[in-house]
């Protein structure tokens, strides 16, 4: 009888153990499912992030292009500025070169009053030396 009871008890323990291991397996499966769900979510998030990164990268490229355009424009502007400066400098040099020429006639020729004058000629027609002066009035 005691053996019978012992067997029954062992069987119950065995059954209980079997049931316990079955209950433990279920949570394991749930955990795997949750992990899979998390992984899927992460993958979705990564997939979702990838376009964002692409989208984020695009403005950078646009920004770089804009910067290049800006640099090119600045370079062109610099060239234009340099050309303008050169032209201005050249014009100033020409003016500086021209100024003494413009000032020269009034200084060196003088006025005709008091001197015999004919059309284009000042002085005595039989003066020993001729000064022939080619000029303009600007």
């Amino acid at each position: 009888m005691a053996r019978l009871l012992l067997l029954v008890a062992l069987s119950l323990v065995t059954l209980a153990a079997a049931c316990g291991s079955g209950e433990q397996a279920q949570p394991t499966g749930t955990a795997t499912s949750q992990r899979a769900e998390r992984e899927a979510t992460v993958a979705q998030q990564q997939d979702a992030q990838a376009p964002q990164e692409t989208v984020e990268a695009e403005p950078v490229q646009q920004s770089q292009q804009a910067q290049q355009a800006q640099r090119a424009q600045q370079a062109q502007q610099s060239v234009a500025d340099v050309e303008q400066q050169q032209q201005t400098q050249q014009a100033q040099e020409e003016v500086e070169d021209a100024e003494p020429v413009d000032e020269l006639p009034a200084e060196i020729v003088g006025v005709h009053k008091g001197v015999r004058s004919e059309r284009h000629v000042l002085g005595e027609p039989d003066a020993p030396v001729e000064i022939r002066y080619f000029g303009d009035f600007t």
């Binding site: 020269l104 060196i108 001729e130 000064i131 080619f134 009035f137 600007t138």
Partner: protein, 134 residues
């Protein structure tokens, strides 16, 4: 200074030749002076332009100056409008080109080109006088 020290002293005569090289304004001024010269007023207008009188590039300024010199303004305007002075200016310019003139002022003393400074002109005149005396 040329007039006072070289022309008025009888050492030299001074001959002005047109050589307008600085655009339309230079041509215009040359025509004005030649049209004034047609009425006997070359040198007064020459002196005004040489003095830098910018009003002579305006109609009002020209009218005032031409009238002031006692010239007939209608005749002057006719001369300008009909281009009567153009041949004289062109002939003067052609003469300069034949002498190798490329800019202004260009000065010759007895046919020899000299620097357009009073010192250089005076020196050339004195040298020419010495050559004449010899």
């Amino acid at each position: 200074m040329i007039v006072e020290r070289l022309v008025a002293t009888g050492k030299a005569r001074f001959v002005f030749r047109h050589f307008p090289v600085r655009g339309d304004a230079a041509d215009f001024a040359a025509y004005v002076v030649e049209c004034a010269a047609n009425q006997g007023a070359f040198w007064p207008l020459h002196d005004r332009y040489m003095a830098g009188d910018e009003t002579l590039f305006t109609e009002a300024g020209l009218r005032r100056q031409i009238t002031f010199e006692g010239l007939d303004y209608v005749e002057f305007v006719t001369c300008m409008n009909e281009g009567h002075s153009v041949p004289a200016v062109m002939a003067s310019r052609a003469e300069g080109e034949s002498r190798g003139v490329a800019g202004t002022p260009t000065v010759f003393v007895d046919g020899e080109q000299v620097d357009a400074t009073f010192e250089a002109i005076e020196e050339a005149v004195e040298r020419a006088l010495e050559d004449t005396a010899e």
